[in-house]
Symmetry: C4
Subunit: 277 residues, 4 copies
Amino acid sequence: MALTGTRKWLNEVIFGTDTPAGKYFDVVLIWTILLSVALVLLASVQSWWVRYGDIFFALEWFFTALFTVEYLTRIYCAQDRRSYIFSFYGIVDLLAILPSYLALIYTGASYLMVIRLLRVLRIFRILKLVRYLSDANLLVRSLWQARRRILVFYASVLVLCIIFGSVMFVVEGPKNGFTSIPKSIYWTIVTITTVGFGDITPHTAWGQTIASMTMLIGYSIIAVPTGIVTAELAHELGREKQLARCHNCGRAGHDADSEYCKHCGYKLEDFEPTHGD
Amino acid sequence: MALTGTRKWLNEVIFGTDTPAGKYFDVVLIWTILLSVALVLLASVQSWWVRYGDIFFALEWFFTALFTVEYLTRIYCAQDRRSYIFSFYGIVDLLAILPSYLALIYTGASYLMVIRLLRVLRIFRILKLVRYLSDANLLVRSLWQARRRILVFYASVLVLCIIFGSVMFVVEGPKNGFTSIPKSIYWTIVTITTVGFGDITPHTAWGQTIASMTMLIGYSIIAVPTGIVTAELAHELGREKQLARCHNCGRAGHDADSEYCKHCGYKLEDFEPTHGD
Amino acid sequence: MALTGTRKWLNEVIFGTDTPAGKYFDVVLIWTILLSVALVLLASVQSWWVRYGDIFFALEWFFTALFTVEYLTRIYCAQDRRSYIFSFYGIVDLLAILPSYLALIYTGASYLMVIRLLRVLRIFRILKLVRYLSDANLLVRSLWQARRRILVFYASVLVLCIIFGSVMFVVEGPKNGFTSIPKSIYWTIVTITTVGFGDITPHTAWGQTIASMTMLIGYSIIAVPTGIVTAELAHELGREKQLARCHNCGRAGHDADSEYCKHCGYKLEDFEPTHGD
Amino acid sequence: MALTGTRKWLNEVIFGTDTPAGKYFDVVLIWTILLSVALVLLASVQSWWVRYGDIFFALEWFFTALFTVEYLTRIYCAQDRRSYIFSFYGIVDLLAILPSYLALIYTGASYLMVIRLLRVLRIFRILKLVRYLSDANLLVRSLWQARRRILVFYASVLVLCIIFGSVMFVVEGPKNGFTSIPKSIYWTIVTITTVGFGDITPHTAWGQTIASMTMLIGYSIIAVPTGIVTAELAHELGREKQLARCHNCGRAGHDADSEYCKHCGYKLEDFEPTHGD
């Protein structure tokens, strides 16, 4: 069923990006989302909440009202209402407004506030329609191609962490902060990823020797995901550059830094990859 | 000598993966191993051991009994008993049950508990049979190809750490935490791998200058193993993609993201590399 | 309008690098800049300022006088005065001397001192004329080619940091140092980039579990920009090596480590890429 | 002048590696060096020195005597004595024994002990003769090819560190540990290289925001040297694999994992690159 009248126009503005009104709506929405997210961040600072609590409260309801209207309008003008409501972004849209209403019933639940931060995910929906996302696609596709290799890699890292963690637990023991095997594994992950908080550190000579080995191994290991991703990314990048087509004559095979189509001289700036998202 | 009767059936179930019973056995075994490993981890937490010590003790014996039965059955139905017992996984299987029995004789040895964690290695045997491991092979082969380069690299890093460590020992001295050359070398490894615990830090101006140099050098050095692994991985990846064959027509040369054989249209999802493990 | 007489000669010396006097001027200027930057750095050390304050003050005015003379001479002998004054380096030249004069009016403003450090940017102008910068061009071009990918990457990392930061705020709470969501996000950035200061660390079991996940994800993520830059750099490097021309016969296509032109035997040491900056 | 008699035989044993005696001498020397280095490391531990000081002292003189005899023999049997004495390794050989003799005159100088650690460099001379070093050559050549790029990169990082360091000095100030600009630059290097000791950390909201930016930038920057080295290494690796020749028929072009020459079937295990060191 094709939409007609106001519903069709609303659909074009809210879901579409091709009309000027649709583009304008998207820009306004992005800023509204960013402002509402900034509000949640600032409201979590104790001293500011004490001082500006009333303003934060009022602004929060202002944004909630805005997003509620938007949510209801989206349901009203959606092509297929059921599929919108139960889609990923439909649920995110609901979660973005629900906490404020729930806070009326259950008071003082700080994690309700956090759910509001999921609003930030809504930005991706809008960006999805813009050409920037074709680059994200390349990244996502590279990671997807490498998913099994990354899984195998993580499994090996975890086994390594369990073994090194247990050895450190035996060598250093509870008196040096390695109070349990899970905590030793936490320390091993902190060390092998080169984060190194320093909240737990080895104190015995043997502990420091094993820690040194852990670090040097982690050092080599950090190379593996980089190698996997780089290899896949270089492959994808090569394919994309090969496949990109001119908008005018439709022919492909341009260099990555070409500004004009080498077949017809058309400006290439808006050219895009041929593969779907 | 070919196995017959019950022994043959047990061998298929326990060592094989082709029959439904064999697959089912593997899945159950993986979960049993993971649960028993989780149990050892949790039992090492002091407060939980005090509270649930009895339950942990009972569960530990339950798993030990299970693995003992499995171990004996494996010996019973193995094609070649001697070679199973002295194989890598045969010894891991034994080490997975031995600590519990030894604990009856020697009490209170915490490292006996840790040996139990070697059970986690048993998971690799099962995974070995699944297709995920062909990716591990690629990783392992890349690392193996690069083994000499990595060795040379580690030797250079160690010499660098000894030299920088000694210099820091002279510059900072025991009063700033650099109590001995081995400890200074430990600090240098912590720094050059960018872990940076912060348990020992330079306090003098010269010490901080040399530390800065150490970090900037470590920064460049971290690029070397990455470069080695990436170069090898890209080479191996290229070869693998070139060699992969269709299961139906047996022809190779498909793109990495092909879903259907370009020669016969057969679904490629289960295609696998031609080289052995 | 072509410059004549003294103005022309000054222009060649100050802006040019082809005459011996021009090269000599550049070398002297680089050392003067480095010394004046070192002076600002040392003058910021409290104990040295107390002891050698007078010397620092005198030297600072000496350098200011020198740079003022240079700035005025540059204006005097510039081809197009207006465009020099409002160019990037023209403003940097002004900012390099302004703070000393402003300090006569507003006293005790420590950030005025910091603005002097912008002098360090002046070194790039001089280097720009030397062949070293053709390598910088390669780096800059690679980063520029990858700008959209890097933007998409940073956006995803920020969203990830907001989500993980909020979860840590809920799990750990103010009593463990996670006093607000912005501070939790700061902790997440510190952790996901593997810096790991250790000023804020998780203390609860759940917090440490989520922290471990954050680290392991950050571990994989660190591979992405490396992959992007490597892929672009390898592409650019290949193009540059292909395009480099011999100065004698003008033919290209030499190997990266060729010392003599393979077409005419001319020494290649000073060969340079054909593309402009 | 060709050597004769005992001098020739000694030269073959000490400098050469082709005779069995020469190989045996190298192995013994490597172990002696490693033991003497280990001795210096252990002697620097205060508590061990107090307890085993006499043994350390005796062993040190034993090793010094050994290396003195070796040094004199090397001078005696060198092809060209003068060029040996003033060569890099000739000076390292002298520095390896000098500190012990100097300690008789100047007592208690701890940095004399450190000079002894330069003995570790002697290992490289021996390794130089072994085939492992052809891999080091590849690494060194890659780094050498990329030297200008790496220089430009370091210059940019330093300028970035100076600018970020000064900003942090202004924002955080002495009361939060950023006591001077050099110290702030030290902090910036610690942060941008993702080491993150945590001895100095930002405490103000603005400081933490700028620190977050520093980290995210450092995050991207860490990709640059990796990209440079990887691109060069991949190029060198490709060339080496292409150039490697069979020892039997002298033909090149084998795959990296070939075990037998594809032209004549000769075992390739000892094949080596054709380019000189």
